[in-house]
């Protein structure tokens, strides 16, 4: 149809004039651009909901059941303080699912984008480093929190009651998911093949999360490890989520949140610098 019009115009000796589109204008922040980066990862995870949300929920449920069975009636001896072991474990598993999913969201997204060269579409778009970091990191935060919510629902039978403080749970959940999202982003920028990023996950992230109070109170770690573990910001996140969900904590929640927020800020700055200098992205 359009072609016909053009031929007819040319036959009459006329040339159609097509006006170039006016440059898009945006204010100080390219909100649409940052949201597009974020939405892409969110949609990807929601589309694959069975892998993104159902699988971590089921995995956590399996852990809760298996630990319960493994106790085999020795519940009294396994108590943490005056808390049943499985009640202690359940909030840790919610935190674990949330943290792992947040890491995977940015880590795999950025490595995939790099390997498939789609990263050029993001580097080439009118996005500042801050907007790119925000786009990726917020998608990870959202995905992590959805995975945490799914796990929370799956573990309801093991939790002693409704959340002690919804605000604290959400605040620590968001801080933790953001933390792992940013770690995944930095790790994904460093990695240049799948081996590297899955190596970071298997050999660094998962061991650290496992040893941060998901499964047992830190004082069960032998001496030196115990001291090292208390310097780990993830410990404060997991402990804070446990406080939010069941009202028990080994640390002061406010102080813990300050540690988590400061860590997030430092990681955000790191990611900002990496995108700013184009680390492993620009020649």
């Amino acid at each position: 149809m359009l072609e016909n019009v053009r031929y007819r115009l040319q036959a009459e000796g006329l040339t159609p004039v097509i006006a170039p589109p006016a440059p898009r204008r945006f204010g100080r922040v390219n909100w649409l651009g940052a949201w597009t980066v974020c939405r892409r990862d969110l949609q990807r995870n929601i589309q694959e909901w069975s892998t993104s949300f159902l699988a971590p929920a089921l995995q956590s449920l399996l852990f809760a059941v298996v630990f319960g069975f493994a106790l085999g009636g020795a519940d009294a001896a396994a108590r943490v303080g005056d808390l049943d072991y499985v009640a202690f474990l359940a909030p840790g598993l919610v935190a674990y699912a949330l943290l792992e999913r947040a890491f995977e969201t940015t880590a795999f997204s950025i490595v995939y984008d790099k390997l498939e060269r789609m990263i050029n579409d993001i580097i080439g778009a009118p996005l500042t480093p801050g907007e790119i970091v925000a786009g990726y990191a917020l998608a990870a935060t959202g995905t992590g929190m959805l995975a945490g919510a799914a796990t929370f629902l799956a573990l309801l039978p093991f939790l002693p009651g409704p959340p002690h403080s919804i605000v604290a749970t959400l605040a620590f959940g968001a801080a933790g998911a953001l933390m792992l999202g940013l770690i995944g982003l930095a790790g994904g920028l460093w990695a240049y093949k799948w081996d590297h990023i899955s190596g970071i996950e298997t050999f660094v992230v998962v061991p650290i999360v496992y040893m941060s109070g998901v499964f047992f109170p830190l004082d069960r770690l032998p001496g030196a490890l115990h001291v090292v573990a208390t310097y780990n910001p993830l410990y404060y996140v997991i402990d804070g989520m446990r406080w939010g969900l069941i009202g028990r904590a080994g640390t002061d929640p406010l102080g813990g949140f300050a540690v988590a927020a400061a860590t997030d800020l430092a990681l955000w700055a790191l990611c900002w610098v990496l995108f700013h200098i184009g680390y492993k992205l620009k020649p």
Binding site: V66, F67, G72, R220
Partner: protein, 265 residues
């Protein structure tokens, strides 16, 4: 007159082709050994640490065996079966998605040879991972072997069974999502709920009955019997169940390759 190559003559079995397929399957996982061998060793050690730190105080002995010694064979078995399954399933799904499955289907390999080649590759991965995890854990746990025959039989039978299941899953799957779902929603729960971490004697009656219907239970129980000398059920029954299960799965795989189910148009 040019010398046209004479057609290669194969005997009853294409040994060279079979060996080539097997080597391909083994090299595929050896070239990424950090992901395929080192990763399961680290994960298994983490599980050992987590379970002993979380429950070690409360659960000192299981069926007369110290908790860590009870747990270790279960963890080894879990790593073996997960990796044997991953080897064949990922190999087939990747080949199907990328289209290079034709390179396996076109050569003069019979369905039986294909089944053997893939299954042996997966079994080898399972055994290598099993040996690596035993070595890794022996720094922390005392692995005394009471009945080496049972341990070896169940290690081989379980790796083979999961390699065959992985082939069935891989052939059935049309994309990565499908095989991920099989792994997440079938294989992992079966591996977790089959007595890897606990003795099923401690379960309520109903769960005990269910556990006895799960072939994964027999392989873990039999393997553990090989190490600790204690089992939840008759070890010979386990040998029978594993033999029958493997024979059935073998026939299913053979049939899938023979009919070209989801492989040939």
């Amino acid at each position: 007159m040019t010398d046209s190559p004479t057609p290669r003559h194969l005997g009853a079995v294409n040994w060279l082709g079979l060996w080539t397929l097997y080597l391909k399957e083994v090299r595929r996982f050896m070239s990424v050994f950090t992901q395929t061998i080192a990763a399961p060793v680290v994960t298994t050690l983490l599980f050992l640490a987590v379970f002993t730190l979380a429950l070690g105080r409360a659960v000192e002995v299981v069926n007369g065996v110290p908790f860590a010694q009870f747990l270790a064979p279960g963890l080894v078995m879990m790593a073996m079966v997960q990796n044997a399954f991953a080897n064949t399933s990922s190999s087939l799904v990747i080949a199907k998605v990328q289209g290079n499955i034709v390179d396996v289907l076109m050569p003069p390999l019979s369905p039986g040879e294909l089944t053997v080649g893939f299954a042996m590759g997966g079994t080898t991965r399972g055994m290598v991972v099993g040996i690596a995890t035993v070595i890794g854990m022996s720094a922390f746990v005392d692995f005394s072997v009471q009945n080496p025959g049972f341990a070896l039989f169940h290690a081989l039978a379980a790796s083979l069974m999961l390699a065959l299941l992985g082939m069935i899953g891989g052939i059935w799957s049309e994309k990565f999502d499908h095989i991920a779902a099989v792994t997440n929603f079938i294989i992992t729960p079966l591996a977790f709920l089959s007595g890897t971490f606990y003795s099923i004697r401690r379960l309520p009656e109903v769960f005990q009955t269910i556990a006895h219907l799960n072939p994964f239970f027999y392989m873990i129980d039999g393997f553990r019997y090989g190490f600790t000398g204690h089992s939840d059920t008759d070890p010979l029954l386990g040998v029978a169940v594993m033999t029958v299960a493997n024979a059935v799965l073998w026939l299913v795989c053979w049939r899938m390759f023979a009919t070209g189910y989801k492989l040939k148009a």
